[in-house]
Symmetry: C2
Subunit: 426 residues, 2 copies
């Protein structure tokens, strides 16, 4: 593949180009946007060998630099993974157009017809690490929703991100979409990130993906709106009226099914009256996976310290900690009130109650103010695909604009349209 | 009135109290919130004399400090104005509860029932100038939507704001709402504003009200989400197919009906073919109000420079300028395309086309990406009350979270609620 193009040296230029591209994109029909997505999917398959070859350079550098096995695995592309990425892009092309239709239409007493229409946000900036498929995912989601994007990937995936971005740019310009709808900051100079954070004159929304500390820095430094997410502590509260079987299966699933993600269980709160039955049962189920349990004193008195390798005393730090591994904090509570206070203090992402008591379930739904609140289900369901959104931009843990799983609609804004026949204000 | 209370000296303490109050507020029924609003309205009437006396101190200081007549008028409270403020609070108590109901409810294939519920944002911060009624408006809107608020008013209205806040706090605590749901930063030290901008651990949303430069500083400095608004340039494009009578009446109304507000007309774009008929007609209508017209060369050749006192040549600065006075920039364009380009470059608040041509109207609605886009109506309608929202928090000119007139709903977020029967993810 031989895509000759000039990489803009200045972020300012990239911002201008993105702004211009976004103004052209908004005029492109949904058919044209979908055709471009299909073009991307086809190109990914066509240039599979080039992608694999660039990816192997990243992989080898990663090995030399001593990346962990987990990081190397996140970095690695295979023929199957590329096919899966292309399939995801095709799926996005099949989703409904997030920009279609006029809604909330009303006629006012003075005869004005008023309504709202969805519009793209404009230019989406994103800063992310390791997994190179994010480059394709974000591009596809932005294009589908009529947004231009400026992406800054991690240096460990620099070659893979570059080949992806070039393939995407070529594919979309062939289909008549503006080339600079998709731009990757290839220069790995760290100062560019700081500059990017101050570009609110070009970037309408910034989506950082990474660890909690990185996201905190972005929030502190950015002058444009930021949607934060992907970080958060998940709780399950086992009520005194819980069904033990459901409680064990849900708690097991929430911790073990995929422990490295943000919707996995972090802290387990157990009503004291059910703890003597529940705790040994979950400890037994978790033991097969060597789940480490950081227990408060009362939980310890029930299940510890027999197996000292997995049952450990909890430290103060364990409450409000996102483990992202096969570890859970365990605490005995005296009442639903204590669980609600604990979750108010430490929760915010996905929190569940396991109970057969209607009043407790309703109280939990009413009083827990997290992005997603569950009754009798695993916190692992917090996901755009599981919620039927089709595609997921991320999981927002903030309250403004979007909360919980974000789909294509959450990459849009609206404008009011008002049609009259000469009305003036008196 | 003798409300003894300790003014927290530390913003940090105010933040903590606001956070605690917001967690109690969310549990208050809509009846209790409405009763508190009625209590506020009654207290405003009861303590009218105290309010007038405190306000006269501000007014006298304002006179001593040489405030303009317009500023003094914004500051002034009269018996009638206080009654109007109380009436507004009663109106808010009669609006539907923005927190009621569950929406977007669906059953997923795995049997999970999923839906969304409105929740308050939490703690709203606001920084504003002059008009003391804002203290009451913001308090009432926040309380109705279950939010606590921390307000920082301008020093010129310090006495009026203080008496309002004390009356409100007393009224709501009598009705069982947490006292610190409403807090006013009484200390006028400017450094407190900077501290407030960095309090994202307590303030969920910041709403600055003031001039463009002030809002820019807030956006640059704040680490929490900011909803900006109340600033923006409004255009009217007179298409070649405009009905001259409608064009003149709408243009006249948009400039003259209340020139000091953000939805008043700033720049008038006129198709060259209709300009010889339209421009003299609007100039004649505007002349009664001494509207100053800053004309480009072609407009000048049609209507100027006969009356040199009101028709002046436009400077480059006039395009994209918010006049907030009886002045309008006037430009002749060659096509609807040129008007669209001009509005894309300089618009964003409220922009209107005057035309009888269906295709032009549709193109304008499609391609102008402003908070509100009009066909054949005055830009002055951009207002929460006019749009039927009942109350207005402000007019947002940003794209995230809320755009255009913001009502009570825009002071809320949502949480997902998911009810299951033991579902786990496979």
């Amino acid at each position: 593949m031989d895509t000759k193009e000039i990489q803009p040296t200045s972020l300012e230029l990239m911002g201008q180009s993105a702004r211009d591209a976004s103004r052209m994109l908004v005029k492109c029909s949904v058919d044209k946007r979908n055709q471009a997505l299909i073009g991307i999917a086809e190109s990914l398959e066509l240039y599979k060998d080039e992608i694999l070859s660039e990816n192997s350079r990243d992989y080898e550098l990663g090995q030399e630099n001593g990346l962990s096995d987990a990081s190397l695995d996140r970095l690695l592309l295979t023929e199957e993974r590329i096919e899966a990425i292309a399939k995801d892009v095709r799926n996005i092309s099949n989703l409904p157009d997030p920009l279609s239709g006029t809604f909330d239409v009303r006629e006012l007493p003075n005869g004005l017809t008023i309504g709202k229409r969805r519009v793209p946000l404009g230019v989406i900036g994103t800063i992310y690490e390791s997994r190179p498929n994010v480059t394709v995912d974000i591009s596809a989601l932005c294009l589908k929703s009529g947004n231009a994007c400026i992406m800054r990937g991690g240096s460990e995936a620099a070659h893979s991100n570059r080949v992806f971005s070039r393939i995407i740019r070529r594919a979309i310009s062939t289909k008549g979409l503006p080339l600079d709808s998709v731009q990757l900051i290839e220069n790995q100079d760290r100062s560019l990130v700081e500059k990017m954070l101050r570009m609110n004159h070009y970037i309408d929304l910034l989506i950082p993906r990474g660890g909690a500390e990185f996201i905190r820095l972005v929030v502190e430094g950015a002058n444009m709106p930021v949607v934060t997410g992907g970080v958060g502590v998940c709780h399950i509260y086992i009520d005194k009226a819980a069904d033990i079987h459901k409680a064990v299966e849900i708690t097991f699933n929430a911790k073990v099914q995929r422990p490295t993600v943000c919707n996995a269980l972090d802290a387990l709160l157990v009503h004291y009256s059910i703890a003597p039955m529940f705790l040994p049962a979950i400890a037994k189920r978790w033991a097969d996976y060597d789940v480490e349990m950081h227990c408060d004193k009362r939980a310890m008195s029930i299940i510890g310290p027999g197996k000292t390798d997995v049952v450990k005393p909890a430290s103060e730090d364990d409450w409000g900690k996102e483990f992202l591994s096969l570890t859970a904090a365990v605490k005995i509570v005296d009442s639903i009130d204590e669980s609600l206070e604990h979750i108010t203090e430490h929760g915010g992402h996905s929190d569940a109650i396991i109970t057969e008591d209607y009043g407790s379930a309703m109280r939990f739904l009413d009083e827990v103010d997290s992005a997603v609140v569950y009754v009798n289900a695993s916190t692992r369901f917090t996901d755009g695909a599981e919620f039927g959104l089709g595609a997921e931009v991320g999981i927002s843990t903030q309250k403004l604009h979007a909360r919980g799983p974000m789909g294509l609609k959450e990459l849009t804004s609206y404008k009011w349209i008002v049609c009259g026949d000469g009305q003036t204000r008196s």
